[in-house]
């Protein structure tokens, strides 16, 4: 290139991702008779959203049971690390088959 714009070989400013792709849990055949956990970060009216979802799912899937977000603690806040770390154990204890986690925005 003409002029005095120089010549540079510029390095990549990022660094490799550390997270490896993890397999997602096997999906269920039906929600009928299954236990679904609600996990909430206490924002964006998730308490009401879960209430509506629970009603909608109960109407569609007989015997579906819910473990309320009140059982697990807040997944967004000063206790979030402890709360999230305890979730696998809490799910096992509650016999949870599936989880709905909210709310993002």
């Amino acid at each position: 290139m003409a002029g005095n714009d120089g010549y540079y070989e510029a390095l990549w400013p990022r660094s490799p991702r550390q997270a490896r792709v993890k397999p997602l849990a096997k999906r269920l055949d039906t929600l009928a008779g299954k236990t679904v956990a609600q996990v909430w970060d206490h924002v964006f009216r998730g308490d009401e959203v879960f209430e509506f979802l629970e009603a909608g799912l109960k109407a569609r899937f007989p015997g579906v049971r819910f473990v309320s977000w009140r059982e697990f603690g807040n997944t967004h806040g000063s206790e979030e690390r402890e709360v999230v770390a305890a979730l696998p154990r809490r799910f096992r204890e509650s016999g949870v088959d599936a989880v709905i986690s909210g709310m993002g925005c």
């Binding site: 714009d5 120089g6 990549w12 400013p13 039906t30 929600l31 009401e48 979802l53 000063s78 599936a98």
Partner: protein
Amino acid sequence: MGLAAASSIGLGMPNLPVARVIGHPGVQSKEMLERNVLEVTLEGVIDNLLKAPKAAGTGDEPGARDVVVKGGFQEINDYFYDHGLSDGLPIVPPTREKVEQFLRHTDRDPGESLGALLPDSRAATIWSIAVNGVMAGCRPEYMPVLVALIEAMADPAYGVEHSGNTPGGETLIIVNGPVIQQLGFNYTQGVMRDGFRPNTSIGRFWRLYLRNVAGFLPHRNDKATFGNTWRVVVAENEDALKKIGWEPNSADFGFAPGSSTVTIARYTGGNHISSVSGATPEAMMPYLYDAVIRQYSWQLMFTVGQGMGTLRPLMLLSPIIAETIAGWGWSRADLKRQLFEHARIPAHEFERILRDWTQKPTWNLAEEARAGRIPKVFHDSDDPNRKVPLVWKPEDYMLAVTGDLTRNSVYVFAHNGVLGYPVAKRIHLPKR
């Protein structure tokens, strides 16, 4: 939706299914929200629980030390901008020669990682610190400060993963110790104004690193409603502190005098308080109490609520104000205690703010205190007009003396609580 999809990549679950809620729940009637959930969200939830998601793919990326573009200054800058690798201002091309100059100012191995930074989950390597330091316009001798900053960014207590949250708070960096003089930081008039290379370029470095390594880019993982640009680094006036016998900010984090340190915390805003006048505490302090109170409304959720005792208000004091307060025989701890005891609001107002403006299910200070979740000072009687503090304890207040030597001002920052909690790190100079 966009945030969930973008964040799931860094968590190793790029195919994590997400169900959509139409619009924003915050502005919908109960009936509208119910209709939206039942007509749209419900189907998404059912699909996500019963249908197998598509297989996850992995995108190819350059290697950690790869050259990604060759050419003139403009070509380099166009490439970096077009690939989301710069902040829109021209960058200094990060060549191997420049990066190696920076690496000579640290004893750390270039491949050493200080942690994996969410949401992108990239390694915070010494190498990448040097690359971004070059880009920001830093000088090579700033490298120990940059390393200390990324150590702080990677500290779980700070919570870097929250840096793209709705309020768009921006980090303020405070520098203490001999490094202030050694590197020529501005710590007097216009301390938060650009124009002083260490203060300005290190502030820019912070945001570049958040973009390039942590992964916070607007329209992707950075969901700031309005946002701010990066803040110029603040250095404390330790000459003024010695004169009045006060310890520096770094002492509050356990560092001995003479230590060079960086302190970081995120703030959603702040305000300059002009013409703070009065020769006595009775004359001056009500203005300061009022200034602190006026910076805090919804952020009280970090005192009682989402954050629980994580609100850490910061006050910058011009040297004249600090000298006047010290002249009353007050230490820094005394000033913090006075702020704790007098910057208070009625309990009913505190509860109203939490209830009306943070959309939390229930907030009742009496109930929280009885359950032992908050200090008793928030419920020492049932009088709704009793005054309650803004923070859990006097030590939650942070103070720094800086700014114009001849003006009587303070600046109060609105802290972002657990979503950018204060963290301080020592700056290690290379032994060789």
